[in-house]
Amino acid sequence: MLSKNQIFVVAAAALMILAGLVMPYWFSFLVTVALAKGLVVLGLVILMRAGLVSFGQGLYYCAGAYAVGAFSDYFQTDNVLLLVLVAIVCGLVISSIVGLLLSRYRDIFFAMFSMAFSMILYGVLVKSAALGSSDGFNVTKPSLFGWAAEFNGTNLLSYWVAIILACVAGAIIWRYMRSPMGMTGEAIRENEIRVEYLGVSVQKIIYIKYIIAAVLASVGGSITAMTVGHIDPEMAYWTTSGEFVFIALMAGTGHVAAPLIGAVIFELMRTFAFQLSPYTWQMILGIALLSIIIFLPNGLWSLTDKFKKGAN
């Protein structure tokens, strides 16, 4: 039996999917890219709930995108299911190796070390001529067994895929956060040593959380690659990872919906800031970031708590 919340989510997703038929192309494009980033941030939120901030999620974002690009190019396929699967496998493989090392680190060292790994990928990609060096290369538009979901001249497939993936990932992570292992994250953030005294391997839990975050990030990267149709090493640069941390902080870690909605707000904010003043959009973002840190330390999602308290 579906609960009230589940019905709401399914209805909202169905509405969004149908709305794609009538909404302008720029908006569906913006939402797709935003949800792709939202998935990355969702992974980041899992880590942040355990007290870890990764400044290197760009590593998996970029790796997922390049996996999709290289795979579709080499095997001449544009099957969206296959491409997302390739990105997942890629994220899984890299993170299960890198995670062995990173799960031993905390605080600022975790942040710096994860950043180092993403910069290593950036350094490799910028210099590999076969993958287009710093220019990157183009990725084919996806199709579902040959069906490209063309309506009024716009390709809606990646938009729909993004919405479905965001809902599925959100539901899985929502369950995960309520599971004993998901909840251990907060305990680790509060006091790691006490958690270990209770007989739990902190390192193992962080390892798993890291892998989940990485897979989400590579799925996000795959969606971006298929939507934008172009990938470049900039996706692994530290400013990209910084943007994810920005969104996570802005949105808050209180709920799985927060990063997804936060990403859409961020993209809208950035688009309009860029429209309004092409020279000072970064300044606007910076001021927004600082105001949120000062006035809403728990992110935009904490507004809903205030609203609920007010209602009672």
Binding site: V53, F55, L101, R104, Y105, D107, I108, F109, A111, M112, F113, M115, A116, F117, M119, I120, Y122, G123, V124, V126, K127, S128, N191, E192, I193, R194, W238, T239, G242, V245, F246, L249, Y279, T280, W281, Q282, M283, L285, G286, I287, L289, L290, I293, I294
Partner: protein, 298 residues
């Protein structure tokens, strides 16, 4: 033989440049426990104020030798203004927050400063090549090197010496070290920690701007130079151990020499080498080479 010489000179020049940037960053972290992303902007501001002043100075037909003093002066003024403005005007209200949150705070400042720079100086590149070409070039063993780069090495050595001397041989330096070691205890013994914070931040900002001003003659000053530099400085201080000035010195040498080696032997590995070294050091010594490992809180 020539190759070894080229690697050595290039490596040391690059190392001294790295140390100039990283010194301020590591000093601020050591004292204030803030990993200051805005340090890249300090560098950029120093470069812009140096380059634009040099341009005006030479257009006026003034004696060329004084342009070096102008670079130092520009960095001093820029560092003082920006450092004071940010620390007194904003950062002091944020003390006591989590280290990772402070990274984001300085990231926000970086974003704001990047655009402030564009507003102040525009988006066109600045060139201030005169101080660079003025010193001429030297031929060693068939290879030609810019004398300006040798001057950079001497200046860095001087900065390192002054930093070491004032930290270890002066009263105020020892007070600063006590704050680095234990902020609360130093405060309890009567050290004005707030004042130390302000002074440190201004010195750090000056060092960043100074590095920028000294680099400006050798490059074209364009928007975004701070973003590229800050990540390199991070690698250096993380390798040396966050907060250790001596560590930054060694870190800069390691990164500088390994980059020079890679540039001459395997140019494609240039960026990879820097972060590869950083990863390698972190894998074996998470705290960096020269930082003291802290106890875990229970």
């Amino acid at each position: 033989m020539n190759l070894a010489l080229a690697v050595l000179v290039d490596g040391v020049v690059y190392s001294s440049w790295l140390f100039l940037i990283a010194a301020g960053l590591t000093l601020i972290y050591g004292v204030m426990k803030i990993l200051n992303m805005a340090h890249g902007s300090f560098y950029a501001i120093g470069a812009y104020s140096g380059a634009s002043l040099i341009g005006v100075y030479f257009a006026g037909g003034n004696p060329p030798w004084a342009s070096y003093l102008l670079l130092v002066g520009a960095a001093l003024v820029a560092g003082l203004i920006v450092g004071l403005l940010i620390e007194r005007g904003f950062l002091r209200f944020m003390y006591g927050r989590d280290e990772v949150v402070m990274i984001l705070v300085t990231y926000g400042i970086l974003l704001i400063l990047e655009d402030a720079i564009k507003l102040l100086w525009g988006v066109d590149p600045y060139f201030a090549y005169q101080p660079y070409t003025l010193l001429g070039r030297t031929k060693i063993g068939g290879l030609s090197f810019a004398n300006y780069d040798f001057m950079l090495i001497c200046v860095t050595a001087l900065v390192a010496l002054v930093l070491w001397w004032s930290l270890n041989r002066t009263r105020s330096g020892k007070i600063l070290q006590s704050v680095i070691h234990d902020r609360e205890m130093a405060g309890a013994l009567g050290v004005n920690v707030t004042k130390i914070f302000t002074i440190t931040f201004v010195i750090g900002a000056f060092l960043g701007a100074f590095a920028g001003a000294l680099t400006a003659p050798g490059i074209s000053v364009v928007p975004g130079i701070g973003i590229e530099v800050i990540i390199l400085a991070f690698a250096v201080v993380v390798i040396g151990g966050l907060g250790s000035v001596g560590g930054a010195f060694v870190g800069a040498l390691i990164v500088g020499l390994s980059r020079a080696l890679s540039v001459h032997l395997y140019p494609d590995g240039e960026l990879f080498v820097i972060y590869g070294v950083m990863g390698l050091v972190l894998a074996f010594r998470p705290q960096g080479l020269f930082a003291i490992a802290g106890a875990r809180k229970i």
